[in-house]
Assembly symmetry: C2
Homo-oligomer: 242 residues x 2
DNA sequence: CTAAATTTGTGTTTTATAACACGTGTTTCT
DNA sequence: AGAAACACGTGTTATAAAACACAAATTTAG
């Protein structure tokens, strides 16, 4: 990956990115003061505008990326250019660390779906800490294991559930990742119909159509790109029955 | 998981299972002599007959399982009882360690597809070694990361490729996992058509039909459950084009 | 502020594949 | 040995969802 050309803005003030090491339930809380310091001194923060590519399928990972703020989609290009979104990343998530640890090129492309700030940490520094701090290592293992469970789950859902079930499940995934706005009903992410389709393994037409049907059935209500859940139980039922 | 009731035969001679700690490219080579000794003294070997269940979706993992010999399929039950095989395990593989590290119940069922011997190691012993031995920890991380890559890859293939592409890819997966017999052509695993279907996300009828078509096209030849690859390039091409 | 481009929305047609039905061959069990 | 259960194979039908075509609405750019 050619880091420089894609950089929207390399941030000079490292304190702009506090969330990674300072947020409450962060994995970084397992680090010692010294280890935290090493991380803070060696990281490089970069900001991306909505729509910009952070890395591309095939690029070689050069370090660990933590999403300080914003939202990112991770997608693979499939047969005939049809994209499949395999993961949505929120503040505090690691982006693309799978490829780093697997020692492989990126197997997916990461794009900011909102203005985002990432901070970037060299691989060898991370590895040193993993080797030295067993609890940190176990936590990394735990995160990977959970993500693998999610991926396996999705494989079955996306292949076996019917359109309505797939869309309902994808909405639940979005809720799970990004949560609700203050009203506790409106999903806190604003995706194009095309992205919703890529997440749910269907064509854009069918995503639009099926969302409309859900709205007609008062399971959700739509206003532009905002999706408000009106009947959570029913949404879960549709997802479950496939 | 109720360990005792499922045990086909608890083996008394621990040396019957050498492959785990002694094979050439085993992860256990990263262990010190002392750590190896702890592993060897604390493991429990068990043998399973073809068709027997090692653990079930929903069971709670109680330890790390290493497949000493034999072959195992890992599958999830999908919508309407349609199984999806998410992984095939060969000698030396860890079975179900994802759930163990994720701290979750098993999300899939493991069944021996050949007579198999597993050896079982308590979780806390494993965790101690991971905490103490950084290189071992990194290797575990590496294995999980690679498996996650495989899972993501399969999600896209199984949802987007057409029947022929899915079947061809599944055959390549089998070759990749189990390799060939001495003739360098016959895939070294013997599955029912139903299992091949469950691996490829299709009905048994379609697996049978499509295998026949491949045979007619001289891409493979069939003799009972044995599948011999006659034109590897063509098989790869079919997989690639979807 | 208008033109162009993109996104959203809807109806129709086509097609891949599941579902079904049925027959044959092969183990397994009593 | 005979019955039952299971695995394999093939033709037909039904259907979910993709593909296509086109219109309206919204956003972006000049």
């Amino acid at each position: 990956m050619c880091f420089i050309t894609r950089v929207s803005e390399i941030m000079t003030d490292k304190d702009t990115c506090k969330s990674c090491t300072e947020s409450k339930d962060s994995i970084f809380n397992l680090l010692t003061k010294e280890e935290k310091k090493v991380f803070e001194e060696n990281r490089q923060c970069t900001s991306y505008k909505k729509g910009e590519i952070i890395f591309k399928e095939g690029d070689l990972p050069v370090g660990m990326i933590c999403l300080c703020s914003g939202k990112v989609k991770l997608f693979k290009e499939g047969v005939g250019g049809r994209d499949q979104i395999i993961r949505m990343e929120k503040q505090g998530d690691f982006v693309g660390f799978r490829a780093l640890f697997a020692g492989e090129h990126y197997s997916a492309t990461a794009t900011a779906i909102e203005d985002s700030v990432i901070c970037y940490l060299e691989k060898n520094i991370l590895e040193k800490v993993i080797k030295a701090n067993g609890n940190f290592a176990l936590r990394v293992i735990n995160i990977l294991a959970k993500e693998l469970g999610f991926s396996n789950e999705r494989t079955v859902s996306l292949t076996q559930k019917h359109i309505r079930g797939r869309l309902a499940e994808s909405l639940l995934v979005l809720i799970n990742t990004f949560g609700f706005e203050e009203n506790n009903k409106t999903i806190k992410v604003y995706l194009s119909r095309e992205d919703i389709a890529s997440l749910s393994n269907m064509t854009t037409s069918n995503a639009i159509r099926t969302l409309s049907t859900f709205a007609q059935e008062n399971v959700i209500s739509l206003y532009g790109r905002s999706i408000t859940v009106e009947n959570m139980e029913q949404l879960k039922r549709i997802s479950r029955l496939g």
